[in-house]
Amino acid sequence: MADKRELLCQAWLSCSESLGYQARLKLMEEFKSASAVYDRFSSKMMEIVGEKAFAELADLRQTGLDKMEAALNKSDIQLCVPGDSSYPEQLAHIPDPPALLFYQGTLFRDEQRAIAIVGSRRETRYGREQAYQIARELAQNGVTIISGLARGIDTAAHKGALDAGGRTIAILGSGIKRVYPRENEELAAQITKNGGAVVSEFSPASEPLAFHFPVRNRLVSGFSHGVLLVEAREKSGTLITVGHALMQGREVFALPGPVDAPGSAVPNRMLREGARLITCAGDILEDMSWGQSTQGEQTSFIMPDLTNEQRRLYDSLCDEPLDFSELMQTMKLQAQELNVLLTTLEMENLIEALPGRMFKAIRQ
């Protein structure tokens, strides 16, 4: 296990935005430890790391390790390197594991069950609902939900896990103190508070630069045992995550969707190419041999007494959602009469209103 000073020296290296992965490997090869690099820092290194990174490192070295440590402590940011008790075992085995992780919250060396849920930032209602539901149910069964804290599917997955009181890990493409998107700062705080973690391999103040995200994506799959793709359009960044998952030997799951929905184009293609088809959390548990899904708070449902008209309306919505004018036609009712019926059924939790004046029956 690395000592405190070595960790801080590693952090020092991570803080240089221009220090590449290969250059860093070379440095370690030559000097064996980050503290050695720090101590014997000289202009000779310029050949290995390049001019820009050298200047950055020299600058940062001026600040001193003490100040850096104080700043990290102040924001409750912890560090871990491969081999530490908080560095996930499965992450250490990917082709290019990060030399250092910054994190808030709790990380374990042996994360027993972890599933990444990834997808589009421009999600549809369907995708959002499924991501939320599956994350929620997985979390209820003790699965840690890994995602990227982005808008859309990521957010829904984190929220699902949190609402189940489960553990979830957010892996950022920016620094920990620079949560992106800003509106998810509150969500990040909740994740750490509820036994999860917010993780980044970039220095805490790092900006959400475009090239960070593909790099980050290898960690999303690296942290997990399987990756579930919920929704993605062609050329989506989530494809990179799936690519990493395949390279890292992770299971790839995909949620099917309508064939004409742009958001489901990629998952559907993945399914054709051999990804596991997922319809619910139980499917993942079964595929991963993690046992049966145990339902949370499932209450038995008693159909309330309905009038003939209410029953007819409910039945006509059971097959597929219908919009207001279609309902008017099938029910042969005036607008105001139909409104009354719709409200009473909504109040009984039998139907649900969707955008676009659509109504659907709630599956009991």
Binding site: S120, R121, R122, E123, T124, R128, E129, A131, Y132, Q133, R136, R151, G152, T155, A156, K159, G160, P181, E183, A261, P262, G263, D323, F324, S325, M328, Q334, A335, Q336, N339, V340, L342, T343, T344, E346, M347, N349, A353, L354, P355, G356, R357, M358
Partner: protein, 516 residues
């Protein structure tokens, strides 16, 4: 020699009496001055008057001519002074012999050939003249129709300066215009769109009817091309007819703002104003150096339609709050403070999301939920507070357009609306309000008279949809109107159940939770 004529200056939308004094004296040089705080348009009247005099067979007296507009400390603007100035000069230079006409006021703009052109604010001036005890008025022919309903006035529509002089000398008197009753004007009202032309759209139509019946503001949400604008345009046709008082109020504002077409009569159709979303704040609520009335005042007693509401700058939308609340707007400028009436119905339309196709069945929406939220957030809660009804408008499929042949006319709907309004007027007799939309305060529930079942349903809905206090009061108001349309004394459960369907923005779009 000295001569006087009477006329009126337009201040805001009211006429102020002004006496035009002309003094002509012989001198060796030609001097012609207008004093008494004239603005640029009044100063230019000098040149118009000189040309018009010459082209009407008179001469501009050579020598010293001073025209004073009294009271001299009142700012005068506009072109209505041309005629009184010209006549005063003709009198002062003794080119005409006429009996004294102190009971006659003159207003009108002169063309260079001596013809009379319409002026802004004629109705206000005539009403003000009547209040001042003046019983005869000569005005341009194009302004005559506008004032034909004013009682107790002899109106002489004149075509040119020459005709005016002929009239005043008694050589060729202009016949006084025949008076019309307000009812006659009402019968001539033409609406540009009838509800029967709208196919399908049963839900929005019903919402329009409720909005009209209770004076509620309405928000139409729907994909592009779903006919939101068309629906809104039908509203003036289903609102109850304006009373004569209302017609006067509205016409005066339009006349003063100069948006009344020359030759048009009293406005009997409620105004429908559609300011573009690039309109400035001054254009919308009134302003400019002279504190002119804005769109909210032009929509007084009528409808203000904001198409694509989120596109309007936020502060412009916020400035609508006072007129919506109080029915008046105070426009304050350094030189002028004016209050304009602005009792209007607000109809707003918007797309459900930036690309417009959120919730559509035919096209896929390209927006992320954060983009939708940001788009909807452009309309602030306090403004949304004042919009009681929200309804979705969807594209009507072609087969429905073809099938749906029997459509109710605006006339039929207007009848029901009128009945509901009568019930409300009776209920609020002793209060300072007229419609359900204006209900407020702690006694809302008592005033609205909910049955127990309606109250229970409302409580359940509040719990289920997590409704705010403001949504709660909106539901009560709308339910009250629905009950009035049904002629129910108390608000029944079905009325409340229907009202609950018009609260889109509180649930589906507005407070939408991720994953729920």
């Amino acid at each position: 020699m000295l001569a006087r004529t009477k006329c009126f200056a337009l201040i805001g939308i009211s006429g102020e009496p002004v006496t035009v004094e002309a003094y002509v004296s012989s001198a060796s040089t030609f001097v012609f001055n207008i004093v008494g705080l004239p603005d640029a348009a009044v100063k230019e009247s000098r040149d118009r008057v000189v040309a018009a005099l010459k082209n009407s067979g008179f001469i501009m007296p050579f020598g010293h001519t001073v025209v004073n507009l009294s009271p001299a400390d009142l700012k005068k603007e506009g072109t209505a002074f041309d005629l009184p100035i010209a006549v005063a000069i003709i009198l002062a230079s003794q080119q005409m012999m006429a009996k004294p006409f102190h009971d006659t006021a003159l207003i009108g703009e002169l063309a260079l050939d001596g013809r009379l052109r319409a002026v802004n604010g004629a109705l206000s001036m005539v009403i003000s003249a009547h209040e001042q005890g003046i019983r005869k008025i000569i005005l341009p022919k194009d302004n005559a129709k506008e004032v034909e309903v004013v009682t107790g006035m002899e109106v002489y529509p004149a075509e040119s300066l020459y005709h005016v002089v002929q009239h005043l000398t008694g050589r060729d008197p202009i016949p006084a215009q025949a008076q019309k009753t307000y009812q006659e004007c009402l019968n001539e009202a033409v609406f540009d769109l009838d509800l029967s032309q709208v196919r399908g759209q049963h839900l929005p139509k019903r919402a329009l009817e409720i909005a009209a019946a209770g004076g509620h503001n309405l928000l139409l949400i729907g994909v592009p091309g779903s006919g939101k604008t068309m629906m809104a345009r039908c509203l003036p046709g289903i609102l109850p007819e304006m009373s004569q008082e209302e017609a006067f109020e509205t016409t005066r504002i339009h006349s003063a703002a100069g948006v009344l077409k020359p030759g048009s009569g009293l406005m009997t159709v409620r105004p429908f104003r559609t300011p573009h979303h690039t309109a400035s704040m001054a254009a919308l609520i009134g302003g400019g150096a002279n504190a002119k009335p804005g769109e909210v005042s032009l929509a007084h007693n009528g409808v203000l339609f904001l198409d694509e509401m989120p596109e309007y700058p936020r502060q412009v939308l916020e400035s609508l709050r006072q007129p919506l609340e109080d029915g008046v707007i105070t426009v304050s400028r350094v030189k002028v403070h004016t209050q304009y009436l602005s009792r209007l119905m607000l109809i707003a339309s918007m797309n459900p999301c930036p690309c417009g196709y959120f919730g559509s069945r035919t096209r896929h929406c390209r927006c992320g939920s954060h983009e939708i939220k940001r788009y909807l957030d452009r309309i602030s809660g306090p403004l949304l507070d004042r919009i009681d009804l929200q309804v979705e408008v969807d594209v009507v499929p072609v087969e429905e357009i073809v099938q749906d042949s029997e459509q109710e006319s605006s006339e039929a709907v207007r009848k029901r609306v009128r009945a509901a309004r009568t019930i409300q007027a009776k209920r609020y007799e002793h209060l300072s309000i007229r419609t359900n939309a204006e209900m407020s305060g702690k006694n809302l529930e008592d005033q609205a008279m909910l049955t127990k079942e309606a109250r229970d349903l409302l409580q359940n809905a509040v719990k289920k949809y997590n409704l705010s206090m403001r949504a709660y009061t909106r539901l009560i108001k709308v339910a009250r109107t629905i009950a009035d349309l049904q002629n129910e004394e108390k608000v029944s459960m079905p009325a409340m159940a229907e009202a609950i369907q018009y609260r889109m923005m509180d649930g589906k779009y507005w407070g939408e939770q991720h994953g729920r």
